[in-house]
Point group: C2
Chain length 199, copies 2
């Protein structure tokens, strides 16, 4: 975990984690003043953080009214999102196979072992973060990470329903399968495993 220097980042990642882990349910309003006293800071950085999360698709903002946690995407929207994520991550994997930089493999292996541990523990926030970190590692590798900002809001919208519809251990096995195919240098198999994993 990188620790952010400025408050808005800290607030944003804290709220992000709580939303994704299901501690704050869709529809819940977030008031600037409440959060300000909760974090012991002024409303300024809170506003910045809420704007961040709104643009990331986690919150829904209405002018002069405030923000609330966004609802899970509709079936139609989710269908589109799945395709977008596949497109981005598959492009990244394909790009990796052109270089086969071993650094990524090492990092993915590390992530897998942490992920396995976290699945046993009780901290769902940690599991979500490691799951996301896995995919981010892949996306970051391609084209000097230029895809990350494209990928993140799409990913986050999908993870809005993470906690309620995901079998943790199965997810781990699928990650492991992708990495195995990459170690073995089997591109088609890796891409296929990735595609089946993103659903």
């Amino acid at each position: 975990m990188k620790l952010a220097a400025n408050l808005q980042e800290q607030v944003a990642s804290h709220l992000r984690r709580r939303i994704l882990s299901g501690q704050i349910l869709p529809g819940t309003p977030l008031r600037e003043q409440n959060l300000a006293v909760e974090f012991g800071i002024s409303r300024g950085p809170i506003r910045d953080a809420l704007l961040h999360l709104t643009k990331e698709g986690l919150l829904l903002a209405k002018p002069n009214v405030g923000v609330r946690v966004a609802a899970e995407p509709s079936a139609f929207k989710r269908h589109v999102i799945v395709h977008l994520r596949r497109e981005i991550e598959a492009s990244a994997v394909t790009a990796w196979f052109a270089t086969r930089d071993p650094v990524l493999l090492k990092r993915l292996d590390e992530n897998l072992s942490q992920y396995k541990d976290a699945c046993g523990g009780s901290d769902l926030g940690q599991v979500v973060e490691l799951d996301m970190a896995f995919h981010r590692l892949v996306v970051e590798t391609a084209d000097q990470g230029s895809l990350v900002d494209l990928w993140q809001p799409i990913m986050l919208r999908m993870f809005l329903r993470y906690s309620r519809h995901r079998d943790l251990m199965e997810s781990y096995n699928e990650h492991a399968g992708i990495v195995r195919a990459m170690h073995a240098g089997r591109e088609w198999e890796a891409l296929e495993a990735l595609k089946l994993h993103i659903v």
Copy 2:
């Protein structure tokens, strides 16, 4: 043009237009204080607007340093973006063919005639806006507009190089071709024309 009630929206759309029309070139730094005096308001709403545009991919932010206009996407990134836009807009068109709501056709026809006029004029900002409005109309139609927030940042990143690489009249003809196919109820033709238009 919709006029926004709050300052941050006004500032954001003003800057957005100036960036997309090439009046502010990639790499140009935007200072909060400068913009504040230029717009005759305080730094608060300016900050909000810059955050918006940053999340939309038009600006690049560095903590404690400030923002600058983002560079055009790399060839690799652009390639991915093209696929994403095609996926989103094709989904929307497909959804439309399930209902064939004539309201959209009327709006597209209106847009086309305005677009044709604007191509003759000298206001590039207007052309860009109408071009974007055309595609937004399509995307808005599907699933109560749920795709718009997904689509917008992708679209905007692509339009960062709009002014420098686009033949206006050709773009108009392609739009017209898509609408013609929709009027005639030829789904495959419309999708194909759309795919060829997004490049």
